[in-house]
Structure formats: structure tokens, C-alpha cells
């Protein structure tokens, strides 16, 4: 092999390439999102605490449903006392704010993490997981397709529902939900189907369905049910404006 002294230009090219590669490797490592580093005992305590809160939450929510039901029955009985119009107005409003089970034709959507992925064992950025943002996008699409009532895993979705995630946990109405997710939407089945099959309406979901094996499908169904809202209606700051008539 014949050796010759590389020219200054060649040396410069090699040095620049080396530096560039070094920078890329560094930024590659830096861009990886840190995984949880909580010791296992802390995680166990956290899980136990969450379980306790969730048990309490289920109990409180069922208590709310029972109380609302009891109040409703008592109010219905007072129809005889001449308040019929008032009670009818109230019942109509209850229906509009999700305090009555909605029934009708609609679409049932199934969403699940990738087949082989274990939610507890992967980082929250894993693309094979269903994220809160996916559910928000889906609900937004259903609303734009004029869905009349929506629920996710039997949690009624109202205009004041928040869908957030903390790590791998998804909270709907601040209630802890785990996949598989079943989204029920009652309304115009044709319009909802059109929107759900539009790849541009749900680009990220369709992309990951193809590449990361997340499971996403829907079917038109008759006689679907969206259960009654069992959360709170906190109104502390909002006041009615009494317009002069």
C-alpha cells in the first residue's frame, strides 16, 4: 500500500466530519427521554396510594349517582304539588348536561396499545401506547361530526371533561382509565363514520396504527348506551348574568 501525506483540505474534511458525528451522537443521547428512576419501594407506595384514592373515588361516584337519583325521584313526586312545568324544565336540562343515560344508534370505537407492549414497562413516550392526546383528538373528531353523547369506558364525556395523562396513566373526568378503550358515540352514524375514516382527521392515530401496531377500529351499532355522568359540577366562580327584560 502506498502512503502519502493527506492534504490539509482532506484533514479538515475528516476533522469536521468527526466533530459533526460527535455532536450528533451527543445530541442523540440527549434527545432520549429519561425513564423513571424511582426506586421500586417508592413505586409500590405510589401504586398503593393511587389504588386507595381510586377505591374512594369509585365509592364517591356511585354515592353521587344514588343521591342524584333519589333527589330526582323526590322532585318527580312533587309534580303533584303544582311544579310540573318546573320539573319538566329541570329534567330537560338534566338530559342536556349528561345526567340521563343516552341511548341510540352510533359508533363504537376500540382503541388499544400495541399487541406486544406492556404499559407498565415502557416509557410514557412509547408510540405503541394510546395517549391522552389520541383520545382528545378522537373526541374532537366525534364532536365535529355532531355526536350527541359520548363515553369512554363508561365515563360520560361532557364539554367540561378533561382528558389528561400523567406518565402512562390516562385520566378522564379525573378518573383513572386503562386500555383497551371503548368509545361510544351516539349520533349521525354516516357523518361520524366519514370523519373517522378520514386519515387527515386523525393523522397520528392512523400513522401509528400502520407503523406501531396500535389497535384502532370502529363499527356502527344500534342501541348503544352512554351512561349518566357521575362526576361533580363545580360552579364556584361562574355567575348568571341577569339581563334586564
Amino acid at each position: 500500500m502506498k502512503f502519502s501525506e493527506p492534504s490539509f483540505r482532506t484533514q479538515l474534511v475528516f476533522v469536521a466530519s468527526g466533530v459533526f458525528i460527535g455532536l450528533l451522537i451527543t445530541s442523540q443521547f440527549r434527545s432520549s427521554v429519561p425513564t423513571s428512576s424511582y426506586p421500586s419501594d417508592e413505586l409500590a407506595i405510589k401504586k398503593e396510594l393511587i389504588k386507595n384514592f381510586l377505591d374512594d373515588q369509585s365509592l364517591l361516584k356511585s354515592k353521587i349517582v344514588v343521591l342524584r337519583d333519589e333527589i330526582g325521584k323526590t322532585q318527580d313526586q312533587s309534580k303533584n304539588l303544582g311544579d310540573q312545568k318546573l320539573i319538566e324544565t329541570l329534567n330537560e336540562l338534566k338530559k342536556s348536561v349528561g345526567l340521563e343515560t343516552a341511548k341510540g344508534d352510533g359508533v363504537e370505537i376500540s382503541l388499544n396499545d400495541g399487541v406486544l407492549v406492556k404499559r407498565d414497562e415502557v416509557d410514557s413516550i412509547d408510540q405503541s401506547l394510546i395517549h391522552a392526546a389520541d383520545l382528545r383528538d378522537l373526541i374532537n373528531v366525534l364532536r365535529s361530526a355532531r355526536a350527541e353523547a359520548i363515553s369512554i369506558n363508561d365515563q360520560r364525556i361532557l364539554s367540561n371533561t378533561s382528558i389528561t395523562s400523567v406518565g402512562n396513566t390516562i385520566l378522564v373526568n379525573n378518573f383513572h382509565l386503562l386500555p383497551p378503550f371503548t368509545v361510544v358515540a351516539i349520533g349521525d352514524t354516516e357523518l361520524m363514520s366519514q370523519r373517522l375514516t378520514d386519515v387527515n382527521a386523525l393523522p397520528d392515530l392512523y400513522k401509528r396504527q400502520k407503523s406501531k401496531n396500535i389497535q384502532f377500529s370502529f363499527a356502527i351499532k344500534n342501541g348503544l348506551l352512554a351512561p349518566v355522568y357521575n362526576g361533580d359540577f363545580s360552579v364556584k366562580y361562574m355567575k348568571p348574568v341577569n339581563n334586564p327584560t
Binding site: 466530519s17 450528533l24 373515588q57 323526590t74 342536556s96 410514557s124 382528545r136 364532536r143 400523567v166 406518565g167
Partner: protein
């Protein structure tokens, strides 16, 4: 080293550089596309949310128990029914409402997902009523939709920047939730460039009924 070997080394180096660039850009794209939109794992945030949520549910139970108690007295019962009607009229957008809160302005072009996410963050922070560019968001309001020319439509109206959210609720809580580290403001600014996001606390926000 012969010229041929040198060329070969350069070629291999270039390929490696190219591969690294590709891997790097994919890593960034993946992080931005989905995960810029939600907060990362936080051992205590979930506990805080659940604790607060249970407190709210307990308050609701206490209100409902009071209401049930009032049903024994006809006059009190009627009063409770009227209060309930008023509350549901406000929540469903059948009444003009007012209260303290915040105004958030996003000046610049954004995708509809960011409007969905901002709405969600406001709700999560306890907003009781929200409007965007004077359109109140209630159950009867349709979701955000993007039409082929890229414009965002809500309830049949085209929304144009600046997007101005108004939210009635606790001013300090709303502000701290939006401005917290890894909060929506930080996530929007990390994911989109050239945007101006501003928050103003307001003593009185008024929203008109929509139904």
C-alpha cells in the same frame, strides 16, 4: 493511503453521518408529534389530581345531601329546584354568565390540536366556562375542524389568529397550571416556533348564552 482508499473512507464516513442525521431527525420528529402534547411521568402529580378530584366529589355529595334534605320542605325544595335549573342553564350555555378568570391569546398559526389541548388544560385546571374568539364551548358546540385550506372551523365559524381563549375560574390556579414547567405554554413553545402566547388575569369576563 491511496486516493481510492481515501475516497472510500470519505464515502463510509458520509454514509455514517447520513445515517446519524436520519436517526436524529426521526427521534426529534417522534418526540414532537405525539409527546409534546402531554406531560411526562410525575409520581406525585397523579396523586395530587386524584386527591383534589376526590375532594370535589365529597363537596358535590355534601351539596346533594343538602339538596335532598331540602326536599322535605316544599318551599326549600322549590328554591333548590330553581337553583339547580340555574346551574344547568349556565353549564349548558343557556344563560349569559360572568366571573373572574384568564384570557389567553395565541398569536400565530397553529393546528387545531393545540386549540383542543389548550381547552383541555383550562378544563383540567378547573375552568367553569370557556370561549374561543367569542364562541362559547358547551356540549352543543361542535369540535374543532380543519378545512382543506388549513383554516380552523368551530361551530360553523372560521377561527382566525389571534386565538383568544377566555376562561372563567380561579385566576391564580388557571395561571399556575398553564405556566407550570412542562405545562401547555412550554409545550406549545417547544413544539411551534414564532408564536406569541400571552396570559392576562381578568376580574370580570362575560360570556353570552349560545342556546
Amino acid at each position: 493511503m491511496t486516493i481510492r482508499e481515501r475516497e472510500l473512507s470519505l464515502l463510509i464516513t458520509s454514509i455514517v453521518v447520513g445515517l446519524l442525521i436520519a436517526v436524529q431527525s426521526r427521534a426529534f420528529t417522534d418526540v414532537a408529534s405525539v409527546f409534546g402534547r402531554d406531560t411526562r411521568a410525575d409520581a406525585f402529580r397523579e396523586l395530587q389530581i386524584l386527591k383534589k378530584s376526590n375532594e370535589k366529589l365529597e363537596d358535590e355529595i355534601s351539596d346533594l345531601q343538602n339538596q335532598l334534605f331540602k326536599t322535605n320542605d316544599q318551599e326549600e325544595s322549590l328554591k333548590a329546584i330553581r337553583e339547580e335549573i340555574e346551574k344547568y342553564e349556565m353549564l349548558s350555555g343557556r344563560r349569559d354568565v360572568s366571573g373572574p378568570g384568564v384570557s389567553v391569546t395565541i398569536n400565530g398559526k397553529v393546528q387545531d390540536i393545540w386549540l383542543t389541548d389548550m381547552t383541555n388544560e383550562l378544563l383540567s385546571a378547573g375552568a367553569e366556562a370557556i370561549s374561543i374568539n367569542n364562541i362559547r364551548l358547551v356540549d352543543a358546540t361542535n369540535g374543532f375542524d380543519t378545512i382543506p385550506n388549513g383554516e380552523i372551523v368551530l361551530n360553523g365559524s372560521i377561527l382566525k389568529p389571534p386565538y383568544e381563549f377566555q376562561a372563567i375560574g380561579d385566576k391564580a390556579t388557571l395561571r399556575s397550571a398553564l405556566e407550570q414547567p412542562q405545562g401547555i405554554f412550554q409545550r406549545i413553545n417547544q413544539s411551534l416556533s414564532g408564536l406569541e402566547v400571552k396570559l392576562m388575569e381578568k376580574d370580570l369576563i362575560t360570556m353570552e348564552k349560545v342556546l
